[in-house]
């Protein structure tokens, strides 16, 4: 039996009122609820305020470079598929700096649970636009407002047939914990885009702004229905649907690698006879 308390309590470096607190709590609940013990899980994060989150719970952690959490996590998962690997980072890290990697990870359907704290702004570097910032969003770096269109990561992931795609909101903590738990129950790639306010640098997308718009996906929605999922994923305005948007049964990448069928790479000893045999064709 795994308890939430097993994941510990630590002092954080976040601003009071930050959405990260609710996400951290929901992650612990989901892990405990899934019966995953701290030593069984590897968190991989990048750089940003969200990327600090795994430092605040008991777990194995590789806190790597900005934007590069997904490739580092992919390597770890391939070395040891028995590890539960969770990527946790922010919108700037995963969708901006790491954009190419999320595309490749979705294509692979590598067994990672990817939790993205999406506050539509850069917090650590003090308030520049992120890939999900709304059009016209004014910052010190974009004084005339953001000129680019925001990306919709959920729509993108559904369009690419990601294994599991969900959106959640830090202001609905029970629902959020439930969605993360469902993501954790999946094999293959699972994306949870978690909407959260940045109380310091985003005065537009506040708790109240989200609360007015976020509506739970109706129980009638079938996440296996891709057309319906795309429709739901593209909805962004008066209402923003939160919940499990899309899922399918693609086999995880690691299941398709022959060298992994005998088990993890880690701990294997060198087959010297096979190596000698491989050299034979060079004589």
């Amino acid at each position: 039996m795994v308890e939430i308390a097993d994941y510990g309590e630590r002092e954080t470096a976040w601003c009071p009122g930050c959405g990260n607190f609710a996400i951290l709590k929901a992650v612990k609940r989901a892990l405990a609820g899934s019966g995953i013990a701290p030593h069984e899980v590897l968190f991989v994060s990048g750089i940003g305020q969200a990327a600090k989150a795994p430092h605040y719970l008991n777990c194995n952690l590789f806190n790597g470079l900005h934007g590069r959490a997904i490739p580092a996590a992919t390597g770890a998962k391939l070395a040891n598929p028995a590890l539960r690997v969770i990527v946790e980072s922010g919108d700037g890290c995963i969708y901006g700096e790491g954009g190419n990697h999320i595309l490749a990870a979705i294509r692979r359907n590598i067994g990672l649970t990817v939790l993205v704290h999406d506050n539509m702004v850069y917090g650590l570097t003090k308030g520049q636009a992120s890939p999900t910032s709304g059009p016209g969003f004014v910052t010190k770096a974009q004084p005339r407002g953001v000129a680019s269109e925001p990306m919709n990561p959920v729509e993108l992931a559904v369009a690419m047939r990601a294994g599991f795609v969900a959106r959640a909101f830090a202001g609905l903590p029970d629902h959020l914990a439930g969605v993360i738990e469902r993501a954790l129950s999946r094999r293959g790639f699972a994306l949870v885009d978690i909407l959260q306010p940045c109380v310091t640098f985003n005065k537009v997308n506040t708790f109240a702004w989200y609360r007015e718009r976020c509506r739970e996906v109706p129980p009638s929605h079938d996440p296996h229905d891709r057309a319906a999922a795309l429709e739901l994923a593209s909805e962004w305005g008066e209402t923003i649907p939160v919940g499990v948007i899309y899922e399918n049964d693609r086999p995880p990448f690691e299941d398709r690698i022959a060298a992994l069928s005998p088990g993890p790479l880690v701990g294997r000893s060198l087959d010297r006879k096979a190596l000698a045999a491989a050299l034979e064709e060079h004589y």
């Binding site: 701290p38 030593h39 069984e40 899980v41 590897l42 991989v44 750089i47 600090k52 430092h55 008991n58 777990c59 194995n60 952690l61 590789f62 806190n63 790597g64 470079l65 934007g67 590069r68 997904i70 490739p71 580092a72 996590a73 992919t74 390597g75 770890a76 998962k77 391939l78 070395a79 040891n80 028995a82 590890l83 190419n100 990697h101 595309l103 490749a104 690698i257 022959a258 060298a259 992994l260 005998p262 993890p264 790479l265 880690v266 701990g267 294997r268 000893s269 060198l270 087959d271 010297r272 006879k273 096979a274 190596l275 000698a276 045999a277 491989a278 050299l279 064709e281 060079h282 004589y283």
Partner: protein
């Protein structure tokens, strides 16, 4: 009878030059000769002008040669470009359909001997006839290459080979039979890239990620071919940044890992090098140099990334940089890179270049069954509780556990961190962590491979070389010696760290020191001055994209060296 022969096969891309060259090299190797191949080609799949040279002899062949003893022209361009490089008494074999064959050239009716797609087998037959190679050895080499899967193709190959041999015998042309008894016993024929790949696997490699880039792609392709049988994961990443971060993630989780790339790809990996150092994660990086900046000359050779690799990565941390000068060193130093990456928990480099990457040479059999997997992490390291990944210990090497393999939690951070691996801004701890990481440099200095000294004591000319120019430097020194000049070579197969006590006296003991390197500014000479205070004023540099040959060194040394 020559004691050595250099066969130069020239033609367009797509004519099967590499097949002819590799089969010829394999047949010569199986006939007991020492063989070295070299290639020049353009960055295109069809057309252009390419060459494949095979140099062979009973005595050890160490370097490529510029002059052709047997020129095989599959196109007119070969005749035009290489007729000037013929050695005295050279034999020229050309497609009989080509205009402008020099007098005495043997025109081969390839069209009559074989259908177009088997013209390369016909060429092999004629060349093998000219070299008096045993027909059965050549037949077996062809069979081993193409397999017996398609019986009809195998039969046709045999028939083409027979016709080509017979045609040569009937032509009455003289042969270039190699002098000297071929040696008994099997020898391996490997390229630098293949030797790196096998060295890595023998050291315990489990994970390799890459993004295709000449000249290093064949390393990953070789590993991919071995993956299933040897239990390796080889992943083509979405870009080089992903490749290096994947390798670091895999290594952190316990799989000895390597990335292989060229200078441009390595430029993208550089932040990852720093990450491996900060998180103290073993990582082997193979950089195959080619002419730069930017895309440069993609299929040519150069040694201009030395300073780049030496300094790549922001911040200060120890590293080892190997620069193999032979196929044997490609194998053994890649193993050593894995061993040191694991022992120091950080990055180690193998710096090759295009020339050695795809140059094949015969070497003594490798007894891989008795080699240890020196790069594999130990899982039985004793730890104190609570476990601290970055425990401050004398020597700086903290006990490394693997995540998920014990009940202990393993935390690594690219931020400065405390002993547990958690992010910190404790500045006194920062200082201790810097010192801990740098302390591991002592392991590298202690394990440093000393440069190889070969030749006369107190030489008049000392050629200093590093990496792939070893063979050419050794042969140039031998020729100088034959001409009466006391000569020697000091070759560095490890270019960082340098331990001056191992070699500084050699630099001071020579009348003249000449640094030989394939770059325009003498990067290694500069490094030696920085580390030893010895200024090497005389340089033999090459940066036109071609490999340094013995002839090139001798030409550049000019009359002064011959006096």
């Amino acid at each position: 009878m020559p004691n050595q022969v250099n066969v130069l096969v020239g033609g367009e891309a797509g004519q099967g030059l590499v097949t002819v060259g590799e089969l010829l090299a394999g047949s010569l190797a199986r006939s007991g000769y020492s063989v070295l191949t070299s290639q020049t080609y353009e960055s295109r799949i069809r057309g252009g002008h390419n060459t494949f040279s095979v140099r062979a002899g009973a005595a050890e062949v160490l370097a490529p040669s510029e002059s052709a003893d047997l020129l095989v022209a599959l196109d007119g361009e070969t005749l035009r470009l290489h007729s000037g490089a013929l050695s005295p008494g050279a034999l020229v074999i050309a497609d009989g359909a080509l205009e402008g064959r020099p007098s005495g050239a043997l025109g081969v009716p390839f069209g009559e001997l074989a259908p177009a797609r088997q013209a390369n087998v016909a060429a092999l037959g004629v060349i093998s006839g000219a070299l008096s190679l045993d027909r059965e050895v050549v037949r077996k080499a062809v069979e081993d290459r193409f397999g017996r899967k398609d019986a009809e193709v195998a039969r046709q190959n045999e028939e083409v080979l027979r016709r080509a041999y017979d045609w040569f015998a009937r032509s009455g042309a003289r042969t270039l039979t190699l002098e000297g008894a071929p040696r008994a016993g099997r020898r391996l024929l490997l390229s630098g890239n293949e030797a790196v790949a096998f060295g890595a696997v023998s050291a315990g490699l489990r994970f390799a990620s890459f993004y295709p880039m000449t000249p290093s792609t064949p390393i990953a392709e070789k590993l991919a071919a071995l993956a299933e049988k040897l239990g390796l994961v080889v992943e083509q990443a979405e870009d080089e940044i992903a490749a290096v971060n994947m390798a670091i993630g895999a290594s952190f989780a316990g799989a000895p890992s390597m990335v292989s790339t060229a200078g441009g790809g390595f430029a993208l990996m550089v932040e990852g090098v720093s990450l491996a150092a900060m998180t103290e994660t073993p990582l082997v990086v193979v950089v195959g140099q080619r002419p730069a900046p930017a895309t440069g000359l993609p299929t040519r050779t150069e040694q201009a990334d030395l300073e780049f690799v030496l300094h790549a990565g922001h911040g200060e941390f120890p590293r080892a940089v190997f620069a193999p000068g032979s196929i044997e060193q490609c194998f053994h130093l890649t193993r050593k890179a894995f061993e040191l990456a694991e022992r120091t928990q950080g990055p180690a480099f193998v710096l090759t270049d295009h020339f050695i990457a795809d140059s094949m040479r015969t070497i003594e059999p490798l007894d891989v069954e008795s080699l240890e997997a020196v790069g594999a992490p130990r899982e039985d390291v004793p730890v104190e509780e609570p476990y601290r990944r970055y425990r401050l210990v004398p020597g700086g090497v903290s006990p490394r556990l693997l995540p998920g393999r014990t009940k202990h939690l393993v935390v690594a951070d690219s931020d400065e961190h405390d002993e547990f691996g958690h992010i910190t801004e404790d500045l006194s701890l920062r200082k201790l962590m810097v010192e801990k990481r740098l302390a591991k440099g002592a392991i590298l200095r202690e394990a440093c491979v000393p440069p190889e000294y070969a030749g006369d004591e107190r030489p008049e000319v000392l050629l200093v070389a590093w990496g792939s120019t070893r063979g050419s430097a050794l042969e140039a020194a031998r020729i100088l010696r034959e001409r009466g000049a006391r000569s020697a070579v000091l070759h560095f197969a490890q270019v960082w760290p340098l331990v001056p006590e191992q070699f500084a006296e050699r630099l001071r003991g020579a009348r003249e020191v000449v640094c030989v390197e394939s770059n325009a500014t003498g990067q290694f000479a500069r490094l030696l001055r920085r580390e030893t205070g010895v200024e090497i004023a005389r340089r033999v540099l090459r940066y036109d994209g071609l490999a340094i040959t013995p002839e090139y060194i001798l030409r550049e040394l000019g009359s002064a060296a011959r006096s």
